[in-house]
Symmetry: C2
Subunit: 192 residues, 2 copies
């Protein structure tokens, strides 16, 4: 879920995810990832300090984009409108390459407890990034925490819908994420 | 955050948390925990398979109690009323021993990346347990996911308020958790 630039970095991510799926995360070495991507180990280490960080790097980019989108939303935007702006900003960084990778990433995560834990931690750090950005806009604490959680739920649900939709390749992630946010907003009226 | 029964199990948890705080999680051995608790290593292993599970055990108890409380709520309870019933059930298992342990647990978690990750994963599994229990009651998916997240936020915020309140020793956790849930319900009206 990183920003997929063409070139060595993207090839390294694709190679890593494929190897994690084929033989497991633990059994995969940096040398194997570099070989599969057709680059040297030195090139790997110019992009990532180790194989775990290869996955974390995408998370930091997403957190930053979500927070920037929220910060740049109009001053009179409501908390959820600001979250929507964050989702749009982050979605724009995830193009067709991200979507192509999605099923392989899902398989790799399903096969590895360590990747599941990593994925879970990512979710929480995205929520924290959004909550912090909302507090910086003056949104009071309980509302900001709640809006941050809704934003992550919307991002996860939108991403899953995009990746699972046959016509997803022709559409942008943003539309799916914003539809998921609308659905959650509507659901909040029936909490009782 | 386990159910604190008097005896070896409780002493092991207190000893472990103290040692994690004093010397870090990684540096603490099972032998040290057993010695501090005044029991043998065999007694440790009768209660927990390893030091990590000592922390996970409490999480599984909490997940079970939250889910049971939700399942046993009246049939006409709203999603958030069912969540409130789950919070009450889980809170009842956390007595004065839990509260006394809270500041030490907080210090231990602050000092260890591994415990922070463990704590984060716990949060997510509590949300999943509540969401699953709500879906089993017939609550539709987006509402159930949202109510599960609200429940975890309420539990975390209520626990922090209870642990930080000088008069917390005289009061039960349930009151704090339900007040936090009410606060979040009110906040959901100002999401925009």
């Amino acid at each position: 879920m990183s920003r997929w630039e063409p070139g060595a970095r993207e090839r390294l991510v694709v190679a890593a995810v494929d190897l994690f799926t084929e033989q497991g995360y633990d059994a995969t070495t940096v040398a194997q990832i570099a070989e599969r991507a057709g680059v040297t180990k030195s090139t790997f280490f110019r992009h990532f300090p180790d194989k775990r960080e290869l996955l974390v790097a995408g998370q930091e980019t997403l957190s930053r984009l979500l927070a920037e989108g929220i910060a740049d939303a109009p001053g009179d935007a409501s908390p959820l409108e600001a979250v929507a702006a964050g989702l749009e900003r982050a979605s724009a960084a995830m193009g067709p390459g991200s979507r192509e990778l999605a099923p392989r990433l899902k398989a790799a995560v399903a096969a590895s407890t360590e990747l599941q834990e990593r994925d879970t931690l990512k979710t929480v750090s995205l929520a924290a990034a959004m909550t912090t950005a909302l507090v910086a806009r003056g949104v009071p604490d309980p509302t900001a925490a709640l809006a941050g959680e809704l934003g992550v739920l919307a991002f996860k649900r939108g991403y899953a819908a995009w990746a699972g939709d046959d016509r997803g390749a022709e559409n942008e992630l943003a539309g799916y994420a914003l539809a998921a946010l609308d659905e959650l907003r509507a659901a909040s009226a029936s909490l009782g």
